[in-house]
């Protein structure tokens, strides 16, 4: 076994985990606080990526600055979707909620297909894209490193917000007991709105980063919805704190398979789904 290769796989896995955690934590927030299983979550991510691309192509705005523009834009889109649709199915059967977000996801994907087409889009000609460092035989790209640091900081920031700030406390209260929170005077609907907008904004920030790391197509939305689901399921639905560890677990296993199994790079997705399936089935058997 080539130790260098193993180290490289581990490092790539850890770096990827940051972005995964950022996207998944938003989904966990929607599930944990609002109780909505959002199948359209990855589409916020995808829209973030394509907004960054469009800002770069039309106005020459560097993706680093797009981060600051895309986050509020996605927050606004999330708030709009919440007030126009999600708000009405909060008490509907779970099936209806899932199907509603599924439908929203289909609309957003196909809107992107109509606007940008199905080809991959690259943000070309950014100097820092090709910068990398060598640390003892392991190469680390600047962009993945930066995305890891930004994501990690944001996720920790979210944890801090949930623990220490009034709105964070309100979210935890609403998550625990909707009626109880309303009785002690919390505006439940407003808390939900903030949580959903925040969830979308976090996904959007992740999207800007993927636009620099890869050359995304509109299909990236569904792919990341599924990845985020894998992570959230491994962490336990609604468990926001577990997301960080679950991201590490999933990202590292993905990276190890991609590197160590011959022809493994294309098997990445299968790894994700095999993990989800195994975890779900295993848990359901253990409980009973």
């Amino acid at each position: 076994m080539d130790l260098n290769l193993l180290a490289q796989a581990l490092v790539s896995g850890i770096l990827a985990a940051g972005l995964y955690a950022l996207v998944s934590v938003g989904l966990a927030l929607a599930i944990g606080v609002i109780g909505i299983v959002n199948f359209a979550h990855g589409e916020f991510f995808m829209i973030g990526a394509f907004l960054a691309y469009q800002l770069f192509v039309s106005f020459g705005i560097d993706p680093v600055w797009s981060l600051l523009l895309v986050a509020p834009a996605l927050g606004l889109i999330g708030a709009l979707i919440y007030t126009s649709t999600i708000r009405f199915v909060l008490k509907a059967p779970e099936l209806n909620q899932m199907l509603l977000t599924f439908g929203i996801g289909i609309i957003l994907t196909n809107m992107a297909l109509l606007i940008w087409g199905g080809d991959p889009r690259t943000i070309a000609g950014i100097a820092y894209r090709s910068i990398g460092y060598q640390v003892g035989g392991v190469s680390i790209g600047l962009v993945p490193l930066a995305s890891f640091v930004i994501s990690f900081t944001l996720v920790l920031g979210l944890y801090w917000m949930l623990a220490r700030t009034p709105i964070g406390r309100a979210m935890r209260a609403v998550a625990q007991n909707r009626t109880g929170a309303a009785l002690v005077g919390l505006e439940v609907n407003r808390v939900y709105l903030v949580a959903f907008a925040l969830s979308a904004a976090l996904a959007g920030i992740g999207g800007v980063m993927i636009a620099v790391i890869q050359s995304p197509t509109p299909g990236v939305g569904l792919a990341f919805t599924l990845k985020a689901f894998a992570i959230v399921v491994v962490a336990g639905l609604g468990n926001i704190r577990g997301v960080l560890f679950a991201s590490l677990f999933v990202a590292i296993s993905e990276s190890l398979v991609a590197t160590l199994v011959p022809n493994g790079d294309t098997l990445r997705n299968a790894v994700f789904f095999a993990i989800i399936f195994a975890v779900l089935v295993w848990r359901s058997r253990r409980v009973a």
Partner: protein
């Protein structure tokens, strides 16, 4: 004694009039004459109209078979897996075994059932969203496995060619060129119609049997249903079997009609999306709902496909969102409530 009471007693003795079975007979008769009627009205253009009609029948089979499993309260996102299993079975048979072409269709159903029972027995204890995600994961794993199977076995990314089931011969002087295409499409149309009739019969028998109540109980609360004596495991596996058998055969027939199987196409998430949007639009947990939904959505799709090239699926998203928000019980459910209210109003 009033007349209605006597009528209802007579009804109780003989059972209610089987409107549903009569409906199947009427549908079958209409289907039998559809190709000739289309040809009479549209002449040469009937070739493409027949193929649109086949698409609608195919969507109805897809939707109704999905609904049969949904009745137990399980939202499956693995329908594309069974469809793809059927498609690949017939393609593999053609490539590796010297058997008659038509044999791939029943065997496609059998293989789909095998996968469904495998998935079903693993996911027995999963509920709601967990079940949905697990089935989606299963479908994606199966897609990846097919994708990465040895190329000389299953064709890999490029897929495999599948020969057509019907090859009408062109006889110069006796018929025109387009009639060859017409005869081929006509033959496929009858295959789809036959499969749909079989699916509808299965669905009706299910609805008329005691299983209907077992399924409704499971949908409401599986634990309670179990306590009341519903053999939940058996019912669920039976629903998996019926649901996958028909969609597996459908996948096999479509493989022959399209002429190829590809991992991305045969196991496409879009198939699953169609399978669940259609019954929701038409009306869940009924026989009529998915069929109404299929004919409604096929028409919408034909219109959209002509306007947009790429993202025409957006129509399905819009339909799904609007249906959930404004008529969560689907077209059939909403119309049913509407007519019942009117009848009550008339009595008063």
């Amino acid at each position: 004694m009033s007349a209605p009471a006597a009528a209802s007693r007579a009804e109780a003795r003989r059972g209610p009039f089987p409107w549903d079975l009569l409906g199947v007979v009427v549908l079958a008769i209409i289907a039998a004459f559809t190709p000739d009627l289309l040809r009479f009205v549209f002449d040469r253009a009937s070739v493409s109209y027949l193929s649109i009609a086949s698409n609608a029948l195919s969507l109805a089979i897809l939707a109704l078979s999905w609904d049969m499993l949904a009745r137990t309260g399980n939202l499956s996102l693995a329908h594309a897996a069974f469809y793809g299993a059927g498609a690949y079975t017939t393609a593999l048979l053609v490539k590796h075994a010297d058997v008659p072409l038509w044999l791939g269709i029943p065997l496609g159903g059998v293989v789909a059932v095998a996968f469904a029972l495998l998935l079903g027995s693993f996911t027995l204890r999963l509920r709601g969203i967990y079940f949905a995600i697990a089935t989606l994961a299963f479908a994606e794993v199966l897609k990846s496995v097919v994708h990465h199977a040895p190329t000389d076995f299953a064709g890999g990314n490029a897929g495999m060619n599948v020969p057509a089931l019907f090859r009408p011969v062109f006889i110069a002087g006796e018929m025109e060129r387009w009639e060859v295409a017409y005869m081929r499409n006509e033959a496929y149309f009858y295959v789809y119609a036959g499969l749909l009739v079989a699916t509808v019969l299965a669905s009706i028998l299910l609805q008329r049997s005691r299983l209907r109540h077992a399924m409704t109980a499971m949908r409401t609360n599986e634990e309670v249903a179990g306590v009341m004596g519903v053999r939940a495991t058996r019912v669920k596996l039976l629903a998996f079997t019926l649901s996958s058998a028909f969609v597996g055969m459908l996948g096999a027939v479509e493989a022959h009609r399209v002429g190829s199987v590809l991992p991305e196409q045969s196991f496409s998430v879009a198939t699953t999306v169609l399978a669940l949007v259609t019954p929701i639009f038409g009306g869940l947990y009924t026989t009529l709902g998915p069929i109404v939904g299929a004919f409604g959505l096929s028409s919408v799709q034909e219109l959209l496909r002509r306007t947009f090239a790429d993202g025409y699926l957006i129509g399905y998203g819009v339909v799904l969102v609007l249906t959930i928000l404004f008529m969560p019980r689907g077209v059939v459910g909403t119309l049913g409530t509407f007519f019942r209210r009117r009848r009550k109003g008339a009595q008063r």
